[in-house]
């Protein structure tokens, strides 16, 4: 157990040492700042940071892949995977340690947006409960995004390939699955056609609908289950990839 934290600590340190970590952080603050100044901090508007949180995933789907791309790829490329995998810890511990380390950085990332909440508190009196649930939603969503990034990083020794693959999947979940179903509706003749199944699956997998409740201050079980099960699925897949790699 303590080995998992040792691993997580190193991973977190690695992200803070690399320029990538700071670039991700800077870009995140830039775009959240834009969201904040365009949608939240406007004269005459209710002091509600909700929109800022609701659209957060549109920024994160492009940033998280860069945060996670090196986690396994760089270990494969440099050969450090050998010292890691011949240490007395199992594959599951490795996956969990790396995941927790990346989540630590992710928490710092979304935590930095607290600055805008503080700024808002100077100008008005926002309702803090939705802020809290929004952060809970962001953490759960982050788990899913980071585990997807981790999975693709474990698949290849090329960082760029890992980043691009996870970016494609996250863009699908974050943007495409949001709009394609609306477009498909026109072609659906009866409700049990395969197209309808595709449409419903896509709508279910889209990230935004699961974030709406959180930004309104509602913790709905279905959304928690969606993110948690997705996270567990991709962590398990990462474990499977690590396990199979050694048999090749």
């Amino acid at each position: 157990m303590s080995q998992i934290f040792t691993l997580a600590k190193r991973e977190l340190g690695g992200l803070f040492y690399s320029p990538i970590g700071y670039i991700v952080l800077a870009l995140y603050l830039l775009f959240v700042g834009l969201l904040f100044s365009l949608m939240v901090l406007r004269p005459g508007q209710i002091a509600d940071p909700g929109p800022m949180f609701l659209w957060n995933h549109l920024i994160l789907i492009f940033l998280v892949p860069f945060m996670t791309m090196a986690i396994f790829s760089e270990e494969y490329r440099s050969g450090r995977i050998e010292t890691l995998r011949t240490s007395p810890l199992g594959e599951m511990s490795i996956v969990l340690g790396k995941f927790l380390g990346a989540m630590g950085f992710y928490l710092g990332l979304i935590g930095s947006s607290l600055a805008f909440v503080i700024i808002l508190s100077f100008f008005g009196r926002p309702d803090y409960m939705p802020v809290l649930t929004s952060y809970l939603g962001l953490v759960l969503m982050g788990g899913l995004m980071v585990s997807i990034g981790l999975f693709f990083s474990a698949c290849t020794q090329h960082q760029v390939l890992a980043a691009m693959s996870s970016c494609i999947v996250l863009v699908a979940l974050g943007i495409l699955f949001q709009f394609i179903p609306q477009f498909l509706t026109a072609f659906i003749r009866h409700s049990w056609s395969w197209l309808a199944v595709v449409k419903h699956t896509m709508s279910y997998l889209a990230i935004e609908p699961h974030m709406v409740d959180f930004s309104r201050g509602i913790i709905a079980t279905q959304n928690v289950v969606f993110f948690l099960s997705g996270t567990l699925l991709f962590l398990f897949l990462t474990y499977v990839v690590l396990e199979t790699r050694k048999w090749r």
Binding site: S2, Q3, T6, L7, G13, E82, T83, T86, P88, K246
Partner: protein, 321 residues
């Protein structure tokens, strides 16, 4: 049950699809000895080592390290083995002390033990003055030492070093060899290399592998003397005298099968092949003096480990050479 051997490989095999990288190899490493694992590039050294260190499971066969099976008791093996991979992979952004602390904690070492162990291994590997250096700023030699320090950190009974002297300058190579030599006795060391002088200097036993198979094993002396061409040893003689007469006189000596002139001139150099032993050398010396020629040099051209290696790796090439 005390075991005599710390590493026992039994018909160890690794195949990648149709390609067999390591083909049913069996060998033992006696406890407390330094054993050289020799072979040309691509012979299967690293693959074998990766199976012994539990990095990948064997396709078939088995191996025991420090009394534990590498497949069924993988975690126990990992606790008892210190491994330096070929490329000495390190985290370049970490500091030396920080890295060793990280590695020790990964192995589940306690804080007090770890502090003591770091002091010990950094002294041993001449790293004490570099504890606070970022690894990225260290020279290749220091990185190599750090890799060895990491392998030694948990005081494992078995050490596996994959080409530890590659890329070092001559003085660093000598230091590293000295370090490995010092480890013998307390640790069992399997040293993979393709540098032959290294093996002669520090290894008590040698295992030679080529194209995935074991070609020979034994002590360096055994390999050199018990070579397949035992009765074709050579003697090199430099004599000041008329070449033709010297040649015919020496050819008449018993045991000489073949004689060739290496260089001609006032001082000629001849190579004798046959059953060359001490008696023949004395006879050659006596004969030369008796004829009134001057003996410049008399050198036994016994097989070097290098020649043996070349011969065993590629039997066709040695006859051509």
């Amino acid at each position: 049950m005390p075991e005599q051997y710390d590493i026992v490989a039994d018909k160890l095999t690794k195949s990648y699809g149709k390609f067999t990288a390591v083909d049913r190899i069996s060998f033992e490493v006696p406890r407390g000895s330094v054993v050289g694992f020799l072979g040309p590039n691509g012979a299967g050294k690293t693959t074998t080592i990766r199976m012994l260190t539990c990095f990948m499971p064997p396709t078939s066969g088995s191996a025991r390290v420090a009394g534990h099976d590498v497949f069924y008791e993988s975690m126990a093996v990992r606790q008892k083995i210190g491994y330096l991979p070929e490329s000495t992979p390190l985290y370049l952004e970490m500091r030396v002390g920080e890295y060793l602390t990280y590695r020790g904690k990964l192995r589940g070492m306690g804080r007090a033990d770890l502090k003591k162990a770091i002091g010990h291994v950094t002294d041993m590997c001449w790293l004490s003055d570099r504890l606070r250096w970022p690894i990225g700023k260290l020279s290749k030699g220091y990185r190599q030492r750090l890799g060895i320090a990491d392998a030694l950190l948990h005081n494992p009974p078995v050490l596996v070093l994959d080409e530890p002297t590659v890329g070092l300058d001559p003085s660093q190579i000598r230091e590293t060899r000295k370090l490995i030599g010092n480890l013998a006795g307390q640790h069992t060391v399997l040293l993979s290399t393709h540098i032959l002088s290294e093996v002669e200097l520090i290894c008590q036993r040698v295992v030679i592998i080529g194209r995935g198979k074991i070609l020979a094993q034994g002590t360096p002396d055994e390999l050199k003397s018990g070579s397949r061409t035992g009765d074709k040893a050579r003697l090199l003689v430099d004599v000041r005298g008329p070449t033709a007469q010297v040649k015919s006189a020496l050819a008449a000596l018993p045991g000489v099968q073949e004689i060739t002139v290496v260089s001609d001139g006032p001082v000629c150099s001849l190579q004798l092949t046959g059953r060359v032993d001490g008696a023949l050398r004395e006879q050659v010396a006596a004969l030369v003096l008796q004829r009134g020629w001057a003996l410049r040099e008399l050198r036994s051209g016994g097989m070097s480990l290098e020649e043996f290696f070349v011969q065993i790796i590629d039997p066709g090439a040695s006859s051509a050479a």
